[in-house]
């Protein structure tokens, strides 16, 4: 048991609980409808009567995920992109800028 200073964390109990819940979920799964057909029309998605496109064509690529998040943060990302311009001279400028700030803090405030 890990003492976190203000509470406790017991990963073994967590793992056992997880395992127990997994067993319950599996039990429910195997008790599912035995009449379910594994082939046929019922497996196809309903797309308002339109034919289903090929699986490769509807694969959700990385860029589709969190599209909204990235749009919402677009102004932040524009600034971050400007900062990450790949120019090593600018890398050094950021480094020296931080060094100057550190010197001002250390020499002025300590």
């Amino acid at each position: 048991m890990l003492n976190t200073g203000f509470g406790y964390w017991e990963p073994i109990i967590f793992a056992l609980t997880f395992l127990l819940l997994g067993c319950i979920a599996y039990f429910i799964y195997i008790r599912g409808n035995p009449k379910h057909k594994k082939v046929g029309e019922q497996l196809k998605p309903f797309l308002s009567g339109n034919p289903e496109p090929a699986k490769e064509l509807v694969h959700i690529r990385g860029r589709h995920i969190y599209w909204g998040f990235k749009e919402a943060f677009a102004p932040v990302y524009r600034k971050l992109d400007e900062m990450h311009d790949g120019d090593v001279r600018n890398y050094m400028l950021w480094f020296f800028g931080i060094l100057v700030i550190l010197m001002l803090i250390f020499l002025g405030g300590m």
Partner: protein, 525 residues
């Protein structure tokens, strides 16, 4: 008869160094090279473990004086200050040495298959071992100039390894950037060392710390401290000085990533050694210094994960999450520093924060090394690194997918993996210092999980794509090395208390006792 147990510190450096110089003799013979490197690193690991036994049973740091009649003799008669190069190994040094060797070892095992079809294999293994020597030297030495020398060794070897795929223009560019920022950082460290040497005529860390604590801090000392903090924070990949890190980590061969992470963390170690030990005996405003680390850490956390979320290159994606994770270490280290001098605060949460930061440092090295090797398997199998072009690989590479899932869960702080154990300690300890810090850390963990879900979906889920129909699972040696780290992720996650008690608490205790360190090395000065 020579007692070999006295010479473990020297052997830990000498064995990989000797093996590094043997490597070019084997030219392109991958089997011989990998065997040599693995055996050398295994032997080094054994000596590190044996040395750990000595460190954990000793009250004072273990010292090893080069050129002395007796390795433990730091001050020969007639000398008032140590002048020779001395290795000073305490709980923190041995913790770092242990993780460095493990990461280098899995990197060498992984390299056996991953660079099989490349040229310059002899040079590759020589540089890999030199990178390990550099990182090991940094964490074992007790001499600040010697630390600079090892920092340079690791930087040069690291830059050469980043450029290993030199037929890729991006690799050469990343190596150029890495060596540029490393050289400038190294020069500033040397400048800071020069300032201290001109003031105190000393290079030994314990002797310098003792002198600084006796005479009090001068303006020059603070100037040197600013240089040390800036340079080591930059080498550790702290925002906004992190830009070299995704470039270098992204272009380095996957086998190099684990030892490269170890060398980056050696810089974080140097930051701790300087702030907690070398300047730890002086009376000054620790709260300000602590807040400097906290602010840098918070920025690293937030902007690292935001940048990760928009990456499509799988290696750069993990590189940015590595930047974010650096923040999780800097914040608790800063909280620990801020509470020095306030016994109640330090006893209540400062020491827990310090332990949490150290625990996270080790956990981060393990799961980050693992994740880089996992995406290395994807690149090895498909020749692609862009998430946009990948998909459905879990069908052909199930083990790689499972390892990615374990690593992603660990870095996001999902229980019961190791990342959660250290993160819960971080959340709780820093909450008591300032609740907002804890909230930021939790929110960043959630965004990290989101980022890894995106990467997992992009790389492994979805229908089987035609271009990857014939893709096969990665070779055994690559999977074995990942499995070793995956096992550590699970074991450290399931037995965090044992890990904290055995290796983390001694490291934290060593850091908060600068006078014990000075006395242990200088013999009660």
């Amino acid at each position: 008869m020579m007692d070999i147990s006295q010479h473990y510190p020297a052997l830990i450096i000498a064995i990989p160094l000797f093996a590094a110089f043997l490597c070019p003799l084997f030219k392109e013979r991958i089997k011989a090279l990998a065997t040599l490197a693995i055996l050398a690193l295994l032997a080094t690991l054994i000596f590190v473990v044996l040395l750990a036994g000595q460190v954990y049973t000793s009250v004072a740091p273990i010292t090893y004086t080069y050129g002395s009649s007796s390795p433990g003799l730091t001050l020969p008669s007639g000398y008032h200050v140590p002048v020779r190069i001395i290795f000073e190994i305490d709980g923190l040094s041995i913790l770092m040495a242990l993780i460095t060797v493990i990461l280098a070892l899995v990197g060498a095992i992984y390299a056996y298959s991953s660079i099989k079809d490349e040229s310059g294999k002899g040079k590759f293994f020589a540089l890999l071992l030199l990178l390990t020597v550099g990182a090991l030297g940094m964490v074992l030495t007790g001499d600040i100039f010697n630390l600079f020398v090892f920092l340079e060794i690791s930087s040069i070897a690291g830059a050469a390894l980043v450029a290993y795929y030199n037929y890729r223009g991006e690799a050469n560019e990343a190596a150029f950037k890495y060596i540029t920022v490393s050289s400038v950082g190294g020069v500033l460290v040397l400048f800071a060392i020069g300032i201290l040497y001109s003031e105190y005529d000393l290079l030994n860390i314990a002797a310098l710390g003792n002198a600084i604590s006796t005479t009090g801090l001068s303006t020059l000392d603070l100037f040197a401290l600013a240089l040390f903090v800036g340079a080591f924070a930059m080498k550790a990949g702290t925002f906004p000085m992190h830009m070299w890190l995704p470039d270098a980590y992204g272009e380095a061969p996957a086998a190099v990533n684990p030892p490269l992470i170890a060398s980056t963390q050696a810089s974080l170690y140097a930051l701790l050694r300087v702030t907690y030990i070398m300047y730890g005996g002086a009376v000054f405003n620790y709260t300000t210094l602590g807040w400097v680390l906290i602010v840098l850490g918070v920025f690293s956390m937030i902007f690292g994960v935001l940048m990760a979320l928009k990456q499509n290159d799988i290696k750069r994606f993990i590189g940015y999450t590595a930047v974010s994770q650096v923040g999780y270490m800097l914040v608790p280290f800063g909280v620990g520093l801020s509470t020095i001098g306030d016994d109640v605060a330090f006893g209540t949460y400062g020491i827990t924060a310090l332990q949490a930061g150290l625990f996270h440092m080790i956990n981060d090295a393990i799961y980050m090394g693992m994740l880089f090797m996992v995406v290395g398997c994807v690149y090895h199998a498909t020749g692609k690194r862009n998430m946009e072009e990948l998909g459905g690989l879990a069908r052909n590479m199930p083990l790689t997918a499972i390892f990615f899932m374990i690593g992603g869960a660990a870095v996001s702080g999902v229980p019961p993996f190791n990342g959660f154990a250290s993160k819960i300690m971080i959340y709780e300890s820093i909450y008591n210092f300032h609740p907002l810090l804890s909230i930021i850390a939790i929110v960043v963990s959630i965004i990290t999980l989101g980022a890894y879900v995106k990467a997992f979906q992009g790389i492994f889920l979805g229908p089987k794509l035609k271009e990857f129909e014939n893709v096969e699972e990665a070779p055994t040696s690559m999977l074995v090395s990942i499995a070793v780290l995956a096992a550590l992720v699970i074991v450290f996650g399931l037995m965090p208390s044992l890990v904290v008690k055995t290796i983390i608490a001694p490291a934290a205790n060593a850091l908060v006792n600068p006078y014990g360190y000075y006395a242990g090395v200088l013999g009660g000065v």
